[in-house]
C-alpha cells in the first residue's frame, strides 16, 4: 500500500511537470508545433553511462540532465527522494505475453486456451512483482495505442474456467489432471522463459503461469533457458508455450505480423502459429483498410477475435519512466509521452538563465550512425535529433500532426492509394542547402531501388513518385489501398539528395566519419539532416556532441 501511495505521488509529480512546463500546447485540443521555438540550448551531449546505478548517481549529482528507461521501483523511489529531479510516467509500447504453440496438442484446443486465460491474475502479479510500476495488459495492443480495446479479455475466475472446460467435454482424471474430450491425456506443458539471471520477472511470471495452469488441471512447469536457445526453439515452432515481450507500435497493423496465417512461415512473426480464416480476414481488412474508420472497425474486430481465440495471453506493460533535472525549464511531457522527447530537447533552458550544455544519458554505446542500417533505439535517439520526417504524432492524442510537411492528403486512385505531402516553404538542411520535395522523392526511390531492409516494408508498395513543378509537393502512388501507407511513408526520414548521390556504398557508409563543408564554409560531416541539432563529434563509448542547428524550422531566433 505504501508503494502504491508513493506511485500516486510520482503521478502527481508528473502531472505537475506537465502543468508547469511552460510551453503552449492545448491538452486534448489541437496541438500546434509552431507554438514551440528552439532549440534554446547551444550544445547537447549524449553521454553514455552503461551502469544504471552509476547513471542514477550522475543524475543525483547533476552530471546528467535527462535519464530514460528507469524501470526498477527502487530507482524511482531513490530519484524521487533526491528532490532534484522531476519524474514523468507514461504508458508505453511494451507488451509482455504468454504465447501458446497452436501447432501442437493440447494448445490447439481453443477452450483450453480460453480457460488458461481465465486463471491469469495479472493484476495481482503486477502488484506483487512490480510494486505497481507496470500496468496489467488488457489488450493485444500496447496501452498507448489509440486502437487498443481495453477490457475485452476474460476476467480472472478459476471456477468459471473449470465450468467452461467441463461444458466443452473436458474431464479430470483421478490425479486431478485434465483429459481432452477425445480421451487424450495432457502432456506436460513446458513454458519456456529466460533464466532469472537475465530476466528475473519473466521467469517468475512463467512460474506463476505454470502454477495457475496446474490449478485447473493442466500439467505445466516453467523451463528457464538461454535466451538465444529460446528464440531459436520458438522460431522453428519447437515449444509448448513461452513468455515473450515486444515493443510494439501505435498502429494496430502490427497485429497482422503477429497473427495472420501468412506470417506463420520461416522468418515470420506469427510465433503461435495461429491460422483462423475469420481472423485472417479481419487482419487483412485491417492492413489494407482504405481509411481510418474502416481501420478502426477492422482493428476492433481482430482484437475481439483474438480475445476469443487467445493464441497469446497479454500479461503486463511496462510504464515508460524518465527523469529530468529540476535545474532546467521547458521540460515537456504528457500522459502518453515522458519527458525524454524531442520537444523537451527543443524547449530546455537552464532555470538560472545561464548558458550551458544539455547532458542527456544513453545507457548503451552508439553502434552506428548510418541511418540506413542502424537498428537500436539508442542509435535512433541520436539520429532522431538529426533527421526529420514529413509527419509526426500529437504528444497528447497520438494523432498525426504536420512536421516538415505542412499539409498532406490521402486519396484512392483506382485500386491504389495516392499520398501527397506539401512541405513548408524555406526549409533548409543543416548544411544550409535548401530542402525540397525532390529530396523526399529521392529518399523513397533510393530505399526502394537498393532494397534497404530497415525500410523495405515501408516502400515496397510504391508504384511511382511525382514532384510538383514548384518543388514543394511530392505525390506518392501506392500499388494498393491501405490507410497505414500514410504512416509508413509520412513517418520516413528524409535524406539529403545532394549527399546521398555521392555515397559509394550505403551499407558501409559512415556519414559521421566523412567530412563535408557547409554552404557557409563550416566544417561538418555527411551526417546532415533537418533536425534541431547538428552532429559534431562522436567518441566511441563516451559521448556524442551536437550543436544547435541554425537552420532548424523552429529556430526562429536564427531567423527561420
Amino acid at each position: 500500500m505504501g508503494l502504491m501511495k508513493k506511485f500516486i505521488r510520482i503521478l502527481c509529480a508528473f502531472s505537475a511537470i506537465s502543468a508547469s512546463c511552460g510551453v503552449s500546447a492545448a491538452a486534448g485540443g489541437s496541438f500546434d508545433i509552431m507554438s514551440f521555438s528552439g532549440p534554446k540550448a547551444r550544445d547537447l551531449y549524449y553521454v553514455i553511462t552503461r551502469d544504471m546505478d552509476a547513471a542514477l548517481l550522475s543524475m543525483s549529482s547533476g552530471k546528467i540532465d535527462v535519464l530514460s528507461d528507469i524501470y526498477r521501483p527502487v530507482d524511482v523511489e531513490r530519484l524521487e527522494a533526491s528532490g532534484s529531479v522531476n519524474l514523468s510516467v507514461a504508458s508505453s509500447y511494451h507488451g509482455f505475453f504468454v504465447t501458446f504453440n497452436l501447432r501442437r496438442f493440447p494448445w490447439d484446443q481453443k477452450e483450453l486456451r480460453q480457460a488458461a486465460a481465465m486463471v491469469i491474475d495479472r493484476r495481482r502479479w503486477v502488484r506483487d512483482l512490480f510494486a505497481g510500476y507496470c500496468e496489467p495488459l488488457l489488450s493485444f495492443l500496447p496501452p498507448v495505442s489509440n486502437y487498443s480495446t481495453r477490457g475485452g479479455l476474460p476476467r480472472f475466475d478459476a471456477e468459471e474456467a473449470k465450468k467452461l472446460l467441463s461444458g466443452a467435454g473436458w474431464t479430470w482424471n483421478r490425479s486431478g489432471w485434465l483429459v481432452a474430450p477425445d480421451g487424450r491425456e495432457l502432456p506436460n506443458t513446458r513454458i519456456l522463459c529466460p533464466p532469472s539471471s537475465v530476466a528475473a520477472t519473466s521467469t517468475e511470471i512463467a512460474e506463476l503461469a505454470a502454477e495457475a495452469f496446474r490449478s485447473i488441471g493442466i500439467p505445466a512447469e516453467a523451463e528457464p533457458m538461454d535466451f538465444q536457445t529460446l528464440l531459436s526453439k520458438v522460431d522453428i515452432g519447437d515449444f509448448d508455450a513461452c513468455t515473450n515481450a515486444w515493443s510494439m507500435s501505435l498502429d494496430p497493423d502490427v497485429l497482422y505480423s503477429f497473427y495472420h496465417s501468412s506470417m506463420n512461415v520461416e522468418g515470420g512473426s506469427n510465433q503461435s502459429g495461429i491460422g483462423d480464416p475469420e481472423l485472417d480476414k479481419a487482419l487483412f481488412d485491417l492492413r489494407y483498410a482504405p481509411d481510418e474508420r474502416s481501420a478502426r472497425d477492422a482493428s476492433e474486430r481482430a482484437q475481439a477475435l483474438l480475445a476469443e481465440l487467445m493464441p497469446v495471453i497479454p500479461i503486463y506493460s511496462r510504464y515508460s519512466i524518465s527523469a529530468a533535472s529540476k535545474a532546467w525549464d521547458g521540460i515537456f511531457s504528457t500522459d502518453t509521452s515522458t519527458s525524454d522527447n524531442l520537444l523537451t530537447l527543443i524547449s530546455m533552458t537552464p532555470s538560472d538563465g545561464s548558458e550551458r550544455p544539455i547532458y542527456w544519458n544513453i545507457p548503451e554505446e552508439i553502434r552506428t550512425l548510418n541511418p540506413l542500417v542502424s537498428s537500436t533505439a539508442y542509435d535512433w535517439t541520436v539520429l532522431g535529433t538529426i533527421y526529420d520526417t514529413p509527419l509526426s504524432t500529437d504528444p497528447y492524442t497520438k494523432e498525426d500532426i504536420p512536421w516538415l510537411a505542412e499539409t498532406w492528403s490521402i486519396t484512392r486512385e483506382g485500386s491504389g492509394t495516392a499520398l501527397a505531402f506539401t512541405f513548408r516553404k524555406g526549409l533548409k538542411w543543416q548544411d544550409g542547402y535548401p530542402l525540397s520535395a525532390h529530396d523526399f522523392a529521392y529518399t523513397l526511390q533510393f530505399i526502394k531501388d537498393n532494397l534497404v531492409p530497415r525500410f523495405y516494408d515501408n516502400v515496397k508498395d510504391i508504384d511511382k513518385i511525382e514532384v510538383s513543378p514548384d518543388g514543394l509537393t511530392v505525390k506518392v502512388y501506392m500499388k494498393n489501398t491501405s490507410y497505414w501507407h500514410l504512416h509508413n511513408i509520412g513517418g520516413m526520414i528524409i535524406l539529403p539528395k545532394h549527399i546521398m548521390e555521392n555515397v559509394p556504398d550505403w551499407r558501409t557508409w559512415q556519414p559521421s566519419n566523412r567530412p563535408r563543408t557547409a554552404a557557409d564554409g563550416t566544417e561538418l560531416t555527411e551526417l546532415i539532416g533537418t533536425g534541431p541539432f547538428v552532429f559534431r563529434e562522436s567518441r566511441t563509448g563516451e559521448y556524442v556532441h551536437m550543436t544547435r542547428s541554425e537552420h532548424y524550422f523552429l529556430n526562429r531566433e536564427a531567423g527561420q
Binding site: 550544445d43 551531449y45 553521454v47 553514455i48 553511462t49 552503461r50 551502469d51 546505478d53 552509476a54 548517481l57 550522475s58 543525483s60 549529482s61 552530471k63 538461454d226 535466451f227 538465444q228 536457445t229 528464440l231 531459436s232 526453439k233 515486444w246 515493443s247 510494439m248 507500435s249 502490427v254 505480423s257 503477429f258 506470417m263 512461415v265 520461416e266 522468418g267 515470420g268 512473426s269 550544455p357 547532458y359 554505446e365 553502434r367 552506428t368 548510418n370 542500417v373 537498428s375 532494397l451 534497404v452 531492409p453 530497415r454 523495405y456 516494408d457 515496397k460 551499407r507 558501409t508 559512415q510 567518441r539 566511441t540 563509448g541 563516451e542 559521448y543 556532441h545
Partner: protein, 322 residues
C-alpha cells in the same frame, strides 16, 4: 632448436583448429545475428534482404572461404552490429583496455608479491594474519559490489574522481587531456588492484612458505649465505617459473577486457564489445576477437616456455618443456 620448432608446429596446429572451430561453433550456437536487428514489423522478405546484405544466404562453404580469407589477411570484415571494419572497432577499444588492465595486473602482482613475501617471512605474526585476511577478502569480494561502493564513496559522496568514462565532457585539450585520462583511469585501476592483489599475495605466500622449507634452501642457509641471498636467489627463484607462467597466461586477459569494470565505470573497452558481439551473434566481430585472443594465448604460452628456459637451468639442460 628442434624441440622449439616442434613447439611452433604445435602452436600452428592449435591456431588452425581455433580458426575452424571459431567459424562453426558460432554458427552451431542457437540464435542468429538477425534476431537483434529485426523488429516484429519486419516482413519475411525484409528479413531475407537483411540476410542477403550480410551474405548469410550464401552456402556455408562460400561463407567459410570468405571467413578464412578475412581472418588470414587480418581484415576481419565488417561488424554486423556497427557496420564498421572489425579491425577499427578493436583498434578503438584495445588501448583503453590495455591502459587499464596492464598496470592493474602489474600493480596487483607487485603488491601481491610484496605482501605475500612479507607474510611468508613473518609467519605467525599479526602482519601475516592481516595479509591472509586482506588477501581472502580481496580475492572473494564480487567486483561489481566493490566498484559500485568505490564509485559511491569517491565519485559521489566525496567526489574526487569522475563517475564515468575515460574523458571529461567536453574533453580538455593538450597535456590536460592526458592528465584527465589518467584521472579517469585512477578509480577503476585502484578497484582492480584491490580486487586482484589478494590472489597473488596468497599464492606467493603459500609457495614461499613451501620453498623456505625445502632442502636446497636449508642447504643455502647451512652454507652461511646471507639471508637476503637465500630468500631472493634461492627460495624466490625456485617459485619464479610458476609465477611467470601465471603472469604470462594472464596477458590475454589484459586484452580481452573486464566486462564488469567496463560496465560499472562506463569504459569503452574490448570486454563489453566481445560480450555484445557474442550475444548478438556478430560473426565477424566475435570471430576476429576470439581468433586474436587465441593467437595471443598461444603466443604467451610460447613466451612462457622461453622464460622457463631463461629462469630454470634444469629446463635449459633438458630442452624445452613439452
Amino acid at each position: 632448436m628442434k624441440p622449439f620448432l616442434r613447439r611452433l608446429g604445435g602452436c600452428a596446429a592449435v591456431m588452425l583448429a581455433v580458426l575452424v572451430l571459431n567459424f562453426f561453433l558460432f554458427r552451431i550456437m542457437p540464435g542468429d545475428p538477425l534476431t537483434g536487428i529485426v523488429d516484429p514489423r519486419f516482413s519475411p522478405e525484409a528479413k531475407a534482404q537483411l540476410a542477403a546484405q550480410w551474405g548469410l544466404d550464401r552456402p556455408m562453404s562460400e561463407q567459410f572461404f570468405v571467413y578464412i580469407k578475412e581472418m588470414l589477411s587480418f581484415r576481419f570484415g565488417l561488424s554486423m552490429m556497427t557496420g564498421t571494419p572489425v579491425w577499427d572497432e578493436l583498434k578503438n577499444r584495445v588501448p583503453n583496455t590495455v591502459a587499464l588492465l596492464l598496470p592493474a595486473m602489474l600493480l596487483s602482482a607487485a603488491l601481491g608479491t610484496a605482501l605475500g613475501m612479507h607474510a611468508a617471512l613473518h609467519r605467525g605474526s599479526r602482519s601475516e594474519k592481516l595479509v591472509m585476511l586482506g588477501g581472502a577478502v580481496s580475492f572473494s569480494f564480487p567486483s561489481f559490489f566493490v566498484q559500485l561502493l568505490l564509485l559511491m564513496c569517491f565519485a559521489y559522496l566525496w567526489p574526487i574522481f569522475p563517475l564515468r568514462g575515460t574523458t571529461s565532457i567536453p574533453p580538455p585539450k593538450g597535456a590536460a587531456a592526458v592528465l584527465d585520462y589518467l584521472w579517469h583511469l585512477a578509480l577503476p585501476l585502484f578497484s582492480l588492484v584491490i580486487l586482484g592483489f589478494g590472489g597473488f599475495a596468497l599464492y606467493i605466500r603459500n609457495m614461499m612458505v613451501k620453498a623456505l622449507g625445502e632442502d636446497y634452501v636449508l642447504m643455502a642457509r647451512a652454507r652461511g649465505l646471507p639471508a637476503r641471498r637465500v630468500i631472493w636467489n634461492h627460495a624466490f627463484r625456485g617459485i619464479l617459473p610458476p609465477v611467470l607462467t601465471i603472469l604470462l597466461l594472464s596477458l590475454p586477459g589484459v586484452v580481452s577486457g573486464a566486462v564488469i569494470t567496463e560496465t560499472v565505470f562506463s569504459m569503452n573497452g574490448v570486454g563489453r564489445f566481445l560480450l555484445e558481439a557474442t550475444n548478438s551473434h556478430d560473426y565477424p566481430a566475435a570471430g576476429a576477437a576470439f581468433f586474436l585472443l587465441a593467437l595471443l594465448t598461444v603466443g604467451c604460452n610460447l613466451l612462457a616456455d622461453v622464460c622457463y628456459v631463461l629462469v630454470d637451468p634444469r629446463v635449459r639442460r633438458e630442452g624445452v618443456r613439452e
